[in-house]
Amino acid sequence: MKIFATYNIKGGVGKTTAAVNLAYLSAADGCRTLLWDLDPQGAASFLFRVKPRVKGGGKALIRGTKALDDAIKGTDFDHLDLLPADFTYRNMDLLLDDAGARPTRKLARLLKPLAAEYDHVFLDCPPSISLVSENVMHAADVLLVPLIPTTLSVRTLDQLTEFVAGFNGHRPQVRAFFSMVDRRKKLHQEITRDLQAERPGVAATPIPALSVIERMSVERAPVSAFAPRSVAARAYRALWSEISKDI
């Protein structure tokens, strides 16, 4: 089982749309895939038309009184399941802190029993730097970091890479990709080109800023499902090919 996490300290950079589309493409390739919507806003759950609710809330999951397995919902798509968001996830930091020894490894421990059931797990993380994100980084094999091509985003990537490098033992691979790229903006073009040339961990495929991606919230489905021939769907497909090639 390989665990991917879409992570960025900033919100609104395309984490959820990437998680939803990449998980969909993984499942479409025949891999048994789970997407865990860790964001209390429940955007990924909404996009799959699943109610953002877990019986017993985040507390039951973190304490283990409810197995992750029991909270999983099937999506409309073959091989793709969802562990929905719950509003109580907003307190997940506190729950993890109360979870006993090595609180930064709790999510990794919870996910372990799912190894026989899934080939790929995607964690869609809330934007923050917190105990939740630290847990995610310890659990993930690959951190997928969407970057809006701005100087500040590049700085954030550097900080994240440095943070992960300081981990003892398991360190996730950091794979950044450009998101919400507007080809009409010169700065976007320059930063995209320069950073891809300078950093080996940056994917060659950018995800453009397109209205069809915004339409996901209207269609409530991955763009690759409702507009499979669109430029956006092709971009996600190319990005997934790039990422899945390395695993």
Binding site: R49, A71, I72, G74, D76
Partner: protein, 535 residues
């Protein structure tokens, strides 16, 4: 009924298919938005073949084996009778002709079925072509919370089967499948479907339903006698029923013999012939005298024409076990013998096929059946005595007493022929017991048969070893005459013959104890209970 098939439904008749399905959709739309899902997994045409041996060995072991054809070959699925998967194996193709499990490539299905099915071939029992469509059931959020799978199935019995080439269309089958995390919605869909007129819970799995539509049922072939006779039935009627049942067995096995599917078709055929001959001999007094006399000769002929090939089959089936016993010689030394046996078998098979396709065999089966049916069905004044029970009592008792007398006279100095003769008498008693099994108390029957079987095994071992030893010697002569016998092969055959002689001596040493158990006071008492306790 399991939870799985509680979710499966079947329309009552194929003719009203469209209106029934429309009613089902209408019922479901009370709670869900019902939407076709054209590209769903499992949609489209599905070709499946269920396989088993002719004598249903997998079914009797609680298993079903299904071959699902896909674009690039197919896969074999082994399940329990309730549908629980047991093993799965990809195969590039399934041979057109029935094959032996040992011919399958290595894999989990082969491992599970090899011992169970050997030496019988896996025969396609039913072929099904299904057209599957999937309908999504959506909740108020437009989320798929369950699916309705509709399957329209046409089934065929492939050649080589009972009911071969029959085709039937099954009433459409509907199944509600659950989406993970939404069990309540699936239950709701099931409840709605259960209320649709013309739709019922599926009481049979697809395989069983297909068999029913083809006029068959699982395990509808057995090589046993199991004729429908009663104690009060006039003896000629009971004997005619027995003999008709045996004739059915012969005829059911002929296609398999002629297609040379596996060796056991001929074996079952020969057992039915032997039983028929014994019945004519032991019970023939209740048949018209000319009938018994004529068919005694005819069935002897049939037994004789099938003997050479069966003997060769026995050698070939036991070949690997035989080579494993070699100590001095190498298994490879015997390979020329295997090749020689195979060549002989091919020649003998042509002779056998010609006999079974010829006029004499046709006349036997047709005229014999006609005569037996007349005997069974003709109305009018008929002697009511003896009854089947009286015939069973007199013949079984006489047969037992004869064995006791003959066996009691055998001493360590008696010639082998005395044991061979006793073996024939024991076989006759066994057949009588089987013929009249429905008239006996089952517990008393099992006890006597168990004693007799032990005696028969010992006598069989003794005689088979001797016969095989003579055959090895004859085969050596024949191979020499055809210059097909290297010296190493002859030496290995000599070692085999020596092993057979050892086995025969051991069987002889065991005879007294086995006979004592069968014919001693306890054995006699068991036979008395059997005969006096019959209804």
């Amino acid at each position: 009924m399991t939870a799985a098939n509680l979710r499966e439904f079947v329309a009552d008749t194929p003719a009203e298919e469209d209106s029934t399905l429309a009613a089902a959709h209408s019922a479901l739309s009370q709670a869900f938005t019902v939407m076709e899902e054209p590209g769903a997994a499992g949609c489209g045409t599905c070709r499946r073949t269920w396989l088993d041996t002719f004598d249903w060995r997998l079914y009797k072991a609680g298993l079903t084996l299904e071959f699902e054809q896909t674009r690039r070959g197919g896969r074999l699925l082994l399940s329990k009778a309730d549908g629980t998967p047991q093993a799965e194996q990809s195969v590039t193709r399934w041979p057109r002709r029935p094959g032996l499990a040992e011919d399958l490539p290595d894999g989990p299905v082969r491992d599970r079925i090899l011992v169970l099915t050997s030496p019988r071939a896996l025969l396609p029992i039913v072929k099904a072509v299904s057209t599957v469509s999937v309908t999504r059931l959506l909740n108020v959020d437009g989320k798929t919370v369950a699916r309705l799978v509709t399957e329209r199935v046409t089934v065929t019995a492939p050649p080589g089967n009972i009911a071969a080439d029959t085709t039937a269309e099954l009433p459409p089958r509907l199944a509600v499948t659950e989406v993970r995390g939404y069990p309540g919605q699936a239950r709701r869909a099931v409840a709605l479907l259960a209320g649709v007129p013309g739709v019922s819970h599926a009481s049979q799995g697809l395989f069983t339903a297909a068999l029913t539509a083809l006029g068959r049922h699982p395990a509808d072939y057995t090589s046993g006698v199991d004729a429908e006779i009663t104690a009060a039935m006039p003896a000629p009627v009971a004997v005619a029923r027995l003999l008709l049942r045996l004739l059915d067995t012969m005829e059911l096995n002929v296609p398999g013999v002629l297609r040379d599917i596996d060796t056991e078709f001929l074996h079952d055929f020969r057992v039915a012939v032997r039983r028929t001959r014994s019945a004519i001999k032991l019970l023939g007094q209740v048949l018209p005298a000319d009938l018994a006399g004529h068919y005694k000769t005819e069935f002897k002929w049939l037994g004789d024409v099938t003997t050479p090939i069966r003997d060769l089959d026995v050698h070939l089936l036991g070949f690997d076990a035989m080579t494993e016993q070699l100590v001095a010689a190498s298994p490879a030394d015997l390979e020329p013998l295997r090749a020689f046996l195979a060549r002989r078998r091919a020649r003998e098979f042509r002779r056998l096929a010609a006999a079974l396709r010829g006029p004499r065999f046709r006349a036997i089966t047709q005229d014999w059946r006609k005569a037996l049916l007349e005997l069974r069905d003709v109305d009018g004044p008929r002697r009511r005595r003896p009854t089947a029970a009286e015939l069973a009592l007199s013949t079984t008792g006489r047969s037992f007493r004869r064995i006791v007398a003959q066996g009691g006279a055998i001493t360590p100095a008696s010639p082998p022929e005395s044991l061979h003769d006793l073996r024939k008498r024991a076989k006759e008693l066994r057949y009588l017991l089987e013929f009249f099994a429905p008239l006996h108390d089952p517990v008393a029957y099992r006890k006597v048969v168990s004693d007799l079987k032990q005696l028969q095994d010992c006598l069989g071992e003794f005689q088979d070893d001797e016969v095989q030893r003579h055959e090895i010697s004859e085969l050596a002569d024949a191979m020499l005459a055809e210059r097909a016998a290297p010296a190493a092969t002859l030496l290995a055959m000599g070692e085999i013959a020596a092993n057979l002689a050892v086995g025969q001596a051991e069987a002889r040493a065991e005879f007294a104890a086995r006979f004592g158990r069968f014919a001693g006071p306890a054995g006699r008492e068991r036979v008395r209970v059997l005969l006096e306790g019959r209804p």
